[in-house]
């Protein structure tokens, strides 16, 4: 956690990106989605389907969170408030999948 500051502070609004940035992000998101669906349909990709899709959706996820939800410009503390539980949730999912034998590590 970032060390929160000492004194009272006026509430500040961090500047938000311009409409141009928003549009560019939207374009990238759409392209990525098209790629995702494309990867799904092209048989050549089937061996790397899962990692590729996970990577693509992680990128989309990050883009929306960083730009549309302004985490990139907003207080780092919000990143902690969101990222902390997100990581806990991710850990929980991995743990459960392991326990239910999804990674076939279990004897």
């Amino acid at each position: 956690m970032q060390q929160p500051s000492t004194d009272e502070h006026p509430v500040v609004q961090h500047a938000h990106p311009t409409a141009g940035v928003y549009l560019r992000v939207a374009t990238i998101l759409v392209i990525l989605t098209v790629i995702e669906v494309g990867v799904f349909y092209v048989p050549a990709f089937h061996s790397i389907l899962v990692p590729a899709l996970l990577l693509l959706s992680a990128v989309k996820f990050t883009l929306v969170v960083m730009f549309y939800m302004h985490l990139k410009m907003d207080s780092r503390f919000f990143t902690f408030l969101f990222g902390g539980p997100l990581l806990l949730g991710l850990g929980m999912t991995m743990g459960l999948m392991f326990l239910f034998g999804a990674f076939a590590l279990r004897r």
């Binding site: 502070h9 006026p10 938000h16 759409v30 996970l54 959706s57 929306v64 939800m69 929980m92």
Partner: protein
């Protein structure tokens, strides 16, 4: 560059409502995390069909996904407009966001009913149960978002949305984008990775 808003002073210089809302979103991460975990843990354990590859309609859902992405774009544009004090465009973007949300929901209603017609219900198998509860919870969130957006839109029509209370729109936006982000995950995990 920062714009000082003339509201309350707080210890961290952050708006309390916004902070609470980020904490709420953090909490929601675990709600959806648990639902997605359940889906994944039960994947491939259904003893009778229909199975995901029998029934999921990728082209259709891709359109829904595109629709939600566009609604997120409308949402940020709405926020930008409110922050500029541009009430006219704020109204347009807000109602556009809500309409795209409604469109998504209609898509989901159509999807659910066609699945039921093809023999996939909550009770059919584990796939049905996990699928409907996960996407249904997401749909419920979208519904709440639509109501919220329409409320803001009415406020805008009444001329009550100003740059000073833009944070109310911003928080609604956070919610809306979060719901979108969850859909990004669901689209990948449920629809594309079968």
């Amino acid at each position: 560059m920062t714009i000082a808003a003339a509201t309350h002073r707080t210890s961290m210089g952050l708006d309390s409502r916004k902070m609470a809302f980020w904490a709420f979103i953090g909490s929601e991460c675990l709600l959806f995390g648990s639902l997605i975990s359940t889906y994944l843990v039960y994947k491939g354990r259904s003893v009778v069909g229909p199975y995901p590859h029998d029934i999921l309609n990728i082209p259709f859902t891709s359109v829904s996904t595109f629709d939600l992405l566009m609604s997120s774009l409308m949402m940020v544009l709405a926020l930008a407009a409110v922050q500029r004090g541009d009430l006219k465009w704020a109204k347009v973007w807000l109602v556009a966001t809500a309409l795209l949300g409604i469109f998504f929901l209609s898509g989901q209603v159509y999807e659910f009913t066609s699945f039921v017609r093809e023999g996939l219900t909550l009770q059919t198998n584990l796939f049905g149960a996990t699928f409907f509860v996960l996407t249904g919870t997401h749909g419920a969130h979208v519904t709440v978002g639509v109501v919220w957006l329409l409320t803001l839109w009415v406020r805008a029509l009444q001329g009550q949305l100003t740059a000073a209370n833009a944070v109310t729109v911003e928080i609604c936006g956070l919610y809306w984008h979060f719901v979108d982000v969850i859909w990004i995950v669901i689209f990948t995990v449920v629809y594309l990775i079968q």
